[in-house]
């Protein structure tokens, strides 16, 4: 070591206001530090991270007084980058910096033991100095970033994230699980707090994103696997088999009506209130408007499946399935075989935005609310019932009479005269917090139910003023812009509030429902007979969200929604760099919040990718292949798949991919031949720290 490079350590101790100085005798620590080997100066200051505090350090570096810096202050998690930058600005390699955490790990933890806290602070400073003597200069690395982005989920959040990215010039792959984008919002009739028609504000956006030159729309597809890291993700996407040639399908809908009754299954778009055929288009405003065949529902009318020879009539003509026969473009042809597994494609992207949304909890779980009654429905079913695109074209009838309505409609369409005998409801009751705020199901509040119950009640009451509407609330939660005013509008319309959760619903022989509740405002049990009971069932994570999170290497919270990196400061980031989350996949939220979060996620992805390259800390592992014995322990342990065994001169040797290595140090700790060095945390440095602390202990004993 040259004299020039001989360590001249400066120790800078922060009071952190009272946070440290309140428990640690800073002056005592400073005097102690001054006497440590290679320390040339020890100073203290009220807030070391403030501008004047940093200036103290910079000045000492500039004057050539110090060439190693130890700051004893708070946590390196937030403040190490700040002090490293100060070192760099003053002309010192920023890896000649070491931090001792004497706040979170000392003063805060030992607030009531001031003397011991001071002694511990001394030890931590001594350990940091011991390491600082052995620090080596390191250089930052840069990795190239792929600027394409994948957005998972084509609901309102995914659409906005994709549009913002595409408008900023980024290529976007928008991947949607269902045949059409639109998500749950496409099922809504109107949206609070302005009562805009959902379709009117959503469908233009669906068209815009689908036609955007920077967006490649991939619907009816799911993520199979994700490899790689930030800037260089390799995503395998499985495009599900549509059984309809989408290049030929024009979305004319001719096939929809010929699918036989036996092949009909509950229509997902109408939340099961009516049936759809095995061949179906998701909904009339679907984007893309293409048909798919549900192979589980299809009864193989013509007796053949795709690629099989058709049976022949007596005069030798092929017998075709009705959908095949009626299709004007040949999109439904069964002549060619089709792979039931669809097609696997691989896409390379720099960042991924997850916006896979939520699902509405089913009513079947709630035996206390007579789920077997067709007139007990979920709020999303109510949306379909009052929607002009719903099973009754928005005509309000009791759900148990929907079959009557459909029969009547069929007759009318055939030009027959018929009287509609469906019963109209006189009383509708809304039940809040069904499955939310309930230890048996979900402990969280689903956040939007209060508002959508009010919305549905308002829409109904405005259209049918004679309707008696009751809403039960445990308490009314309307914390949003214009939300409480919306609630007051409902009150003034004469919608009746039962303050308390409905405890039971009983199905009556005439398909009406006896509702039992307790009104805290009257201080009495109440009961009433209702024609329809609407359950505000919880928003819950999609069934496959956990699996998707596993593929992406991001985590889910205890409640099952995707977990953000930090609730307040990094609400759309995840613990995996380059993967962002937004919308209801992160937790229940309304449309304004979903859109805001989507735009935040898009902006985060943009600021990450826009520079085209990313600085990476050099604190990663390196293999000394001379020492490596090729045992492969490190390869199995590496959580990032960064280590492979390669052949070098006929021997197996470990090799670390610098781009993938995150510097966790597992390999270095496990290597039996000490062939792996984790830069910034070398054996010598770590041992020096441990021995310093241990030695002090020994002295004390």
């Amino acid at each position: 070591m040259t004299a020039e490079n001989k360590p001249r350590i400066g120790v800078y101790i922060c009071h952190c206001g009272e946070n440290i100085a309140g428990a640690v005798n800073v002056e005592e620590v400073r005097k102690f530090a001054e006497k440590l080997p290679d320390v040339v100066v020890a100073r203290d200051y009220l807030f070391m991270c403030s501008d004047p505090g940093q200036e103290i350090i910079k000045e000492d570096i500039r004057k050539g007084l110090v060439n190693r810096v130890v700051v004893a202050a708070c946590t390196p998690r937030t403040h190490e980058p700040i002090f490293r930058k100060a070192c760099e600005d003053a002309g010192l390699n920023k890896y000649y910096f070491e931090m001792a955490n004497i706040r979170d790990q000392c003063s805060w933890a030992h607030w009531h033991e001031k003397e011991k806290a001071t002694e511990k602070a001394k030890l931590l400073v001594a350990a940091a100095v011991a390491k600082a003597r052995l620090l080596e200069p390191l250089e930052d690395r840069y990795i190239e970033l792929n600027k394409d982005v994948m957005v998972l989920g084509g609901g309102i959040a995914g659409i906005f994230a994709a549009l913002d990215l595409a408008n900023a010039g980024f290529k976007v792959y928008l991947v949607e699980k269902l045949p059409s984008i639109g998500g749950n919002m496409a099922k809504l009739d109107k949206t609070f707090p302005t009562n805009d028609c959902s379709a009117c504000i959503l469908t233009p956006l669906m068209v815009e994103v689908a036609n955007h030159p920077n967006v490649e729309l991939i619907t009816y597809a799911e993520v199979e696997s994700v490899d790689g890291t930030v800037g260089n993700f390799k995503v395998k996407v499985r495009k599900k088999q549509t059984y309809v040639d989408w290049n030929k399908c024009t979305g004319c809908g001719a096939c929809l009506n010929v699918c036989p009754p036996k092949a009909r299954v509950p229509d997902e778009y109408n939340e099961g209130l009516n049936m759809r055929g095995a061949i179906y288009i998701a909904f009339p405003q679907a984007v893309p408007k293409k048909a798919v065949i549900d192979p589980d529902a299809c009864i193989r009318c013509s007796g053949r499946w795709f690629g099989e020879e058709p049976r022949k009539t007596k005069d030798g003509k092929p017998i075709l399935a009705p959908c095949e026969k009626v299709c004007p473009t040949g999109a439904c042809s069964r002549d060619e075989p089709r792979d039931p597994n669809g097609e696997l494609i691989e896409l390379n992207v720099g960042s991924i935005v997850v916006a896979t949304g939520y699902r509405v909890m089913d009513k079947k779980h709630f035996k206390e609310y007579a789920p077997d009654s067709p007139n007990v429905i979920t709020a999303l079913q109510m949306e379909r019932l009052i929607s002009a695109t719903g099973p009754t074209e928005g005509k309000l009838i009791v759900p148990s009479d929907i079959p009557k309505y459909l029969e009547w409609k069929k007759k009318i369409e055939k030009g027959k005269e018929a009287e509609l005998e469906a019963r109209k409801p006189h009383v509708i009751t809304f039940v809040s917090c069904v499955g939310s705020r309930d230890e048996r199901y979900h402990t969280y509040c689903s956040k939007v139910c209060c508002m959508y119950m009010l919305k549905q009640a308002m829409l109904l009451k405005e259209k049918y003023p004679d309707l008696e509407i009751y809403i039960s609330f445990i308490d009314v939660r309307t914390p949003g812009k214009d939300f409480d005013e919306y609630y007051m509008r409902c009150r003034k319309l004469g919608i009746k509030i039962i303050k308390g959760k409905i405890g039971g619903v009983q199905r009556l022989p005439d398909e009406r429902l006896l509702v039992k509740g307790y009104d805290a405002e009257l201080g009495k049990p109440v009961e009433l007979i209702s024609d329809i009971v609407v359950l505000a069932t919880a928003m819950e994570p999609n069934m496959d969200l956990k699996e998707l999170a596993r593929k992406l290497g991001i985590s889910v919270g205890a409640e099952g929604f995707l977990k953000e990196r930090h609730t307040k400061l990094y609400p759309v980031d995840t613990m995996t760099e380059g993967i962002f989350i937004c919308g209801c996949a992160q937790g229940p939220k309304d449309i304004p919040d979903s859109v805001a979060q989507a735009k935040a996620a898009a902006a985060s992805a943009m600021s990450l990718l826009a520079p085209g390259k990313m600085k990476v800390e050099p604190l990663i592992s390196e293999v000394d292949q001379e020492k490596c014995i090729g045992c492969g322990i490190c390869e199995n342990l590496c959580p990032y798949g960064a280590i492979t065994l390669v052949e070098v001169n006929g021997a197996r040797k470990s090799k670390i991919n610098e781009t993938l290595c995150k510097g966790c140090g597992v390999c270095a700790a496990a290597c039996p031949s000490k062939a792996i060095t984790l830069h910034g945390f070398t054996y010598e440095q770590v041992l020096a720290q441990i021995r310093t602390i241990a030695a002090k202990k020994v002295v004390e004993v």
Partner: protein, 188 residues
């Protein structure tokens, strides 16, 4: 005081309440209360601020302001007619001053009294008071005229009671109110 709970069943059947309101009455009770002066009735969100300072609530009356408003909002009427609470209101007006929604609960109390009078659901004491008001210009008539004489005061106080012209004017006014229409007291 009558038992406040009389007339109110242990379980309130909202369907019956609503049906009775529709079938037996021309107007909803809430609409009548609004017409009788509590214009902002529907804005009540049942926060309970009015009840927290209401002397009626604090002395154990059952249908104090907040609860009365809720009962009206769900359409209860018959159940409340036998209740004495509105007649016990001391008109302190604190409820109106504290209300964050300008519901004017005091006006609701007064409106409820008007509704009760229309149904002849009022305490005998109130009829006495009205009779006295009509005859003497005082709802609570002064006793102890002997004492007045003893100390040399005129038998009647120098109010409407002793002013024949004023008393006739008052009677004319009262004859032109709903009171005459209802025939609660003789108005000769």
């Amino acid at each position: 005081m009558e038992l406040a709970e009389e007339g109110v069943p242990p379980v309130i059947n909202l369907t019956e309440v609503a049906e009775r309101e529709k079938e037996e009455f021309e107007e909803k009770v809430s609409k009548l209360i609004i017409e009788f002066g509590a214009e902002n009735l529907m804005a009540c969100m049942q926060c309970g601020a009015c009840a927290s300072i209401c002397p009626l609530a604090r002395t154990g009356f059952e249908w104090y302001n907040k609860k009365l408003i809720k009962a009206i909002l769900v359409g209860m009427r018959e159940e409340l007619l036998d209740d004495m609470t509105p007649w016990a209101c001391v008109a302190c007006n604190r409820c109106t001053e504290i209300c964050p929604r300008n519901v004017t609960p005091f006006e609701v109390m007064l409106a409820m009294r008007r509704l009760m009078v229309e149904d002849f659901a009022l305490p005998t004491l109130t009829i006495e008071g009205l009779r006295s008001l009509y005859e003497h210009g005082h709802a609570v008539y002064m006793t102890g005229r002997e004492a007045r004489k003893k100390v040399g005061l005129p038998e009647k106080p120098p109010t409407t009671d002793s002013d024949e012209k004023a008393l006739q004017e008052l009677k004319t006014i009262l004859k032109n109110t709903k009171l005459a229409e209802l025939g609660l007291i003789p108005m000769g």
